[in-house]
Symmetry: C2
Subunit: 300 residues, 2 copies
C-alpha cells in the first residue's frame, strides 16, 4: 500500500478558537489526510495538530494550514509561556510506513521551498533535515524567539535555508524538518525527595553524558507526593524504552528507592513497546514486521 508520513504542526495560537478551528478544518478537509490528535493550551498560547497522510497529501495539508497561520496569527501581539518564533512555529515530518528518513528530509525541503516561495515565510531546516550541525536542535534555532529573529537572521551562520535576511513581519520564521517519532515517557519514584529525581534525570540525559537521544528533568508530583523523572526520547531505536527504565531503576536503588510506575504520554509507535517486550521476554528471532498481525493489515 501507500507510503505514510506523520506531520505534527505547532501553531502560536492557543486562545482564539475560531482560528484553531479553521486550522483543524483545513487539515481535515484534505482527502487522504487523517487528523489523529489536536490540542490547544491557553497558557502556552499554542496549539498542536498531528496528522498522517501520503507524502503528497501531507505536504498539501501542511501548506494550507501554514497559509491560514500566516494570514491569521500575528506574533507582534503574541504573549505566551511557550517559546516561539513563528505563527506556524515548527513542522516535523516523521516516517510511519514505507518511508525512509531520507524521504522525509526531501519532503521537508519541498514544503520549505513552497512555504517561502508562496507565503514569504523564511524557513530553517532542523533535525535530520538540518544543513549544518549547529542547526539540528530546535532550541538553538529558536533562541532569541520572534523578537530576536530580525537580528539573528543577519548573522552569517543563521541565514535561513529558504528566505533572505528578513523575517515575515507578523509570522516570523518557521522550522521544518524530519525526525523519528518522539516518545514522551515518565517514570515515577517511590519517594518525595525531588533531589533524587533530579540526580537521576541528570545521569540519564544525553546532555550531561547519559543515554543518547534522551532528554530528562526531575519534577515533583504534588498530588501523589512522589517525584518523577520526566523524559523525552527522540529516537527509541537508538535508546529503547526498557534501557531508560532499567537505568532509572538501577540508579534509584542507590537511594533505596523503587519505581512506583511509568507512563507514556500521548501516542507511541507500536515498535517502541514491542521492543521492550522482546527484551524482557528474551525473544529470539522475532520480526515484528512479519509476525505482528496488525502489520499485515496496515499493508492491505
Amino acid at each position: 500500500m501507500s507510503k505514510l508520513v506523520e506531520c505534527i504542526m505547532n501553531f502560536s495560537e492557543g486562545r482564539n478558537t475560531e482560528v484553531i478551528g479553521e486550522l483543524g478544518e483545513t487539515i481535515s478537509s484534505i482527502p487522504g489526510v487523517l487528523l489523529l490528535d489536536h490540542s490547544a493550551d491557553q497558557n502556552h498560547h499554542r496549539s498542536v495538530f498531528t496528522f498522517v497522510g501520503t507524502p503528497e497529501k501531507a505536504i498539501e495539508a501542511a501548506f494550507q494550514a501554514a497559509k491560514i497561520a500566516v494570514e491569521r496569527i500575528d506574533l507582534t501581539k503574541h504573549q505566551g509561556e511557550h517559546p516561539r518564533m513563528g505563527a506556524v512555529d515548527v513542522i516535523p515530518f516523521v516516517p510511519i510506513k514505507e518511508m525512509s528518513m531520507a524521504e522525509c528530509v526531501t519532503l521537508s525541503r519541498e514544503l520549505g521551498q513552497r512555504i517561502y516561495d508562496q507565503l514569504g515565510l523564511p524557513v530553517f531546516l532542523y533535525e535530520e533535515s538540518a544543513s549544518a550541525p549547529h542547526r539540528r536542535n530546535l532550541a538553538d534555532i529558536r533562541r532569541g524567539e520572534f523578537e530576536g529573529m530580525p537580528e539573528k537572521l543577519l548573522l552569517s551562520n543563521w541565514k535561513p535555508d529558504f528566505g533572505g535576511v528578513s523575517i515575515h513581519p507578523t509570522a516570523g520564521v518557521v522550522a521544518i524538518g524530519a525526525r523519528m517519532p518522539l516518545v514522551a515517557y515518565n517514570i515515577n519514584l517511590n519517594t518525595s525527595d525531588l533531589n533524587i529525581a533530579k540526580a537521576i534525570a541528570k545521569i540519564i540525559r544525553e546532555s550531561s553524558g547519559g543515554l543518547q537521544c534522551v532528554k530528562s528533568i526531575g519534577v515533583m508530583l504534588e498530588d501523589r507526593n512522589l517525584v518523577q523523572v520526566s523524559i523525552n526520547m527522540t529516537n527509541y531505536e537508538t535508546t529503547p524504552i526498557y534501557r531508560v527504565f532499567e537505568m532509572v531503576r538501577i540508579e534509584a536503588q542507590r537511594y533505596g528507592v523503587s519505581i512506583a510506575g511509568s507512563e507514556i504520554i500521548g501516542l507511541t509507535p507500536m515498535n517502541a513497546l514491542i521492543d521492550s517486550a522482546m527484551y524482557y521476554l528474551q525473544l529470539e528471532g522475532f520480526d515484528s514486521s512479519k509476525q505482528v498481525l496488525e502489520n499485515y493489515l496496515l499493508q492491505g
Copy 2:
C-alpha cells in the same frame, strides 16, 4: 472503518500442489480478502491458509475454499501424521477489528449452515461457538478421526450442529468455530535435561492444574542441546505471555536452570506483546487503542 475477521482454514491436503494452489487462488480471488499466510506439510499431509477480510467476504472465501476441498480431497485415501476428520478439517474465526466474539460466533453459524446446505458436509460448532461444553475442544470432536466418524455421529451427544447422522462419504465432517487468536510460544531452558522441561510444562498447563488457556509440552532441541517448554496459549487476555514466562522462570530456578530465550511462532496480535511491555515497564493508565499510533492507521 470496516469490521475485520481472521479465518484460519485447515485442509487435509499437504502434497498435491495443484489442489493446494487452487485453494490459495480461490481465497485470494475474493475482493476484500487478504491472504496473510499459507503453509503445507507433506508429512502431516495438511495445509493451512490464514486470511483476513470483512465478515461477508471472509464467509464467502471460506465457503468457496471449502467447496474446492469437498470436491478435490478424498479422505478415504488420506494418510498423514496429523489427526483429521474432514477434507476441510477445521475453520476458526478470530475477531480482529471492531468485531466481538459474539459476532464471530454468528459468523461461524452462518458458514456452518451454508456448508451443510450447499455442500452436504456435516458441521460441528466448537470453541466459543460450541452448543455444549463437551464440544468446545477440537480434540474431543476429532477423536476417532475420519474413520471413526460414521459410528460417532450415531451417538446422541455427537449429533452434528448442522447435518444428519451420516458423514460426507469422501469429505467427512468439519469443525467451525470462533476463538481468540492463538499464540504459539516456546521457552528454551539452559539445560539438556528433558525431564525439567516436562516437569515445568506439566506445572504450567491448564489440564494439570496450571494456568488457564495454556497447553504445554516439554521437548528436546537436539541441534542446540537444550530443552524447550513448547506452549500454545488459547487466550492471551486470560493468561498473558509475561505470566507464562515468569512462571517458567520461577519453576526453572528450582533446578538452578535459567531461561536461554523464548520465541513466538508465526503471527501474534500486537496487544499480546504490548501487554507484556506494560507489565515489565509498570505502565500506568496506558490505553493501547488510543495511544498506539498504528491503531489510528487501522481505523483510517
